[in-house]
């Protein structure tokens, strides 16, 4: 399915991938008052919104807000912001670079990858800040934090795969990016970022069918709740991640020859 040449080509063009990622990062912060603060602003806004929602819940249910709730929202918002940002940028990554696609040869995968990686950079900044805050907040560490790298890798795989697929789809059908925008707006409702899936009781698995939701819950479990994450859901998401990437890449690569003509 994925041939060695495809991987080799990306490796040959790694300089270009790096430069395009660097370009996407730089232009976000150029000539802006906030500069790098933007990387933190998005998650801060999401976390603040989450805290508001949690406060509303607690007022409704009579239970006070505790550190764990706030930590949960924060820990799930940062990867969520990465996901939303990556998908948004990746979908338009091909159509925004029409002049490159019609004039220069390079493996087109590089464009949605650069979009995803530039958002990864923002994610790292926000995550580092969050780690500092949580470290001093008394949340505590546990051995289960060792699950985190694996969970993040699967998360990135799914995001990359979806980004590649949507980029390709948007090139052929220009309304894909609008549909994506709508879905992303409402996704915050059916993804357990501001709430826990467990709140839905026996309907929780339905929510967890969304691999992103499942991963966010696993992250929450390991970082905040200090439990081992559910093996079933990890395997489920891993399948989505690896399978998704293989399928998305193949589709992208097979359609690539038509890009310059159909863009």
């Amino acid at each position: 399915m994925i041939k060695n040449e495809m991987i080799q080509e990306i490796i040959t063009y790694r300089h270009l991938l790096f430069m395009l990622t660097w370009r996407d990062i730089k232009i976000k912060y150029k000539q802006s008052i906030m500069g790098f603060m933007w990387a933190i602003l998005m998650p801060v806004l999401v976390v603040s919104a989450g805290i508001l929602v949690k406060t509303a819940f607690s007022m409704f249910s009579g239970k006070p807000i505790d550190l764990a709730s706030v930590a949960s929202v924060s820990v799930k918002s940062v990867p969520w912001a990465f996901f939303v940002g990556s998908i948004r940028f990746a979908t338009s990554s091909l159509t925004n670079n029409m002049n490159l696609i019609t004039k220069i040869y390079f493996p087109r995968e590089v464009l949605p990858l650069a979009a995803t990686f530039s958002n990864l950079f923002d994610f790292i900044i926000a995550a580092t800040l969050l780690t500092f805050i949580l470290a001093f907040s008394g949340l505590g560490l546990s051995i289960y934090l060792l699950w985190l790298p694996l969970l993040l890798i699967i998360f990135i795989l799914i995001t990359t795969a979806l980004g590649m697929f949507l980029a390709c789809a948007n090139l052929f059908f220009r309304d894909v990016k609008y549909i994506v925008e709508v879905i992303l707006t409402f996704a915050i409702f059916f993804t357990p970022v501001f709430y826990e899936a467990s709140m839905l009781g026996k309907w929780a698995p339905v929510l967890l069918l969304n691999p992103i939701g499942a991963l966010l819950e696993c992250i929450n479990t390991t970082v905040v709740l200090h439990h081992a994450p559910d093996m079933f859901w990890i395997s489920y998401s891993a399948l989505w991640g690896i399978g998704g990437l293989l399928i998305a890449w193949k589709i992208f690569h097979d359609a690539e020859f038509a890009f310059a003509e159909r863009i």
């Binding site: 300089h15 270009l16 790096f18 430069m19 395009l20 370009r23 730089k26 232009i27 150029k30 000539q31 670079n97 002049n99 490159l100 696609i101 019609t102 004039k103 220069i104 040869y105 390079f106 052929f172 059908f173 220009r174 309304d175 894909v176 549909i179 097979d254 359609a255 020859f257 038509a258 310059a260 003509e261 159909r262």
Partner: protein, 394 residues
């Protein structure tokens, strides 16, 4: 055989006119199948046309080949097929070695980034590694003549500066195989000069070059061999001056010597040593040998000797030379016209006619019988070489 770096065999490429389905609303008629089947169907569907039909040729390592032809002939399409940006519908393309294509100057420039940042970006897009760019950064900046502006975002550049920066980066890519599409027509005279010099040094360093241009002078200077492409088909491949001549002639519908009372044949341009030549320097002596065949007496006739500059059609001269030395005979009379190439840099075309003295009737008109170029570095522009010399007045 093993030296062939580009090979095109039986290449055909078609495009579709009009709009293509662009939204999910039109998804109902078979989606993905439609995208992929475009390649498999090799006949012309409705609204499609052949941009290239049955194109075959080879380029060997180190060759510099020009491609000329009218707009829409398929030249850029051919470059895109070589780069891998498009795939042929029929036929096969093989490219050996690292390829860099200059199809647009400043490809990938981002207006918010500074000149220096864009050099790195553009260089990476054209295939250079970061280290390569580090090494050549000074050269690139110097070549562009924009050293004071490297820290300014390029959206503040004038279009000339933009183009010069773009070409400067492009000129310093040192690939095995360089494809150049019309990017030399940027910048002022001085800069264009630099560009051709740079192209020459890239060629002389052993890279293979394919050069598309409408500027015959540059093509003649850079490429010994040229391909003439028209309506998607190769009309001719051969020595550059000959092919340029064929292209220039095809632009006029006059078909030469037929049905004329007097015919002029075997028109050959040579230099002072009678060696065939298409390229001269100002002040060279040249000669044209030709044969006039006629049944009638030409004693009262005049031989028109007209020279035009090819790029803009300006008339350089329009002589009517007496032909009293031609006797009436049924054989052809060989003649020679000796003249001085007091011309400045450019591409020129020589035309002839035979005029009956005292009448307005042409017995023969031969357009663009010869195309030649003048190479020099002494003047910025102009047509006539007046050979000025400055001396101190005693």
């Amino acid at each position: 055989m093993s030296d062939v770096v580009i090979e095109a065999s039986g290449v055909c490429k078609k495009f579709k006119r009009g709009e293509v389905y662009g939204s999910l609303r039109d998804l109902v008629p078979a989606i993905t199948k439609k995208v992929f089947s475009q390649r498999r169907s090799v006949e012309l569907q409705e609204k499609e046309f052949w941009a290239l039909k049955d194109v075959s040729f080879q380029v060997e390592k180190g060759e510099a080949v020009g491609i000329i032809g009218p707009n829409g002939a398929g030249k850029s399409t051919m470059l895109k097929l070589f780069s891998g940006i498009l795939r042929p519908n029929k036929g096969h393309i093989a490219v050996k070695g690292r390829l860099s294509a200059l199809i647009e100057v400043g490809a990938g420039f981002h207006p918010d980034l500074t000149g220096k940042e864009n050099i790195y970006l553009n260089g990476a897009i054209l295939g250079m590694t970061r280290k390569e760019i580090d090494n050549k950064l000074e050269e690139i900046v110097e070549f562009s003549g924009l050293s004071g502006l490297m820290d300014t975002p390029v959206k503040r550049y004038s279009s000339g500066m933009y183009a010069r920066l773009g070409f400067s980066v492009a000129a310093h890519v040192n690939p095995d195989l360089l494809l150049v599409d019309e990017v030399l027509s940027v910048g002022d005279m001085k800069f264009q000069q630099k560009c051709i010099e740079k192209m020459k040094s890239v060629r002389d360093s052993g890279s293979t070059i394919i050069f598309i241009s409408h500027n015959f002078e540059s093509v003649n200077i850079l490429c010994p061999k040229t391909i003439f492409l028209q309506n998607g088909q190769i009309k001719n491949i051969g020595k550059t001056p000959e092919v340029i001549k064929e292209y220039v002639n095809s632009a006029r519908s006059y078909d030469g010597n037929s049905h004329q009372e007097v015919t002029i044949n075997n028109i050959i341009l040579a230099d002072n040593n009678n060696a065939l030549n298409g390229s001269f320097i100002p002040g060279d002596k040249a000669r044209i040998s030709l044969e006039i065949s006629t049944q009638r007496s030409l004693k009262d006739c005049l031989l028109g000797f007209l020279v035009h500059r090819v790029t803009d059609g300006i008339s350089v001269c329009d002589y009517n030379l007496p032909l009293d030395m031609v006797e009436e005979s049924s054989k052809s009379t060989p003649l020679v016209i000796e003249f001085d190439m007091n011309l400045l840099r450019g591409a020129y075309a020589i035309s002839f006619h035979i005029l009956s003295h005292g009448s307005t009737r042409y017995l023969n008109r031969t357009y663009n019988a010869i195309i030649f170029t003048i190479e020099e570095r002494v003047s910025w522009q102009g047509i006539s070489h007046l050979n000025p010399v400055v001396r101190k007045l005693k």
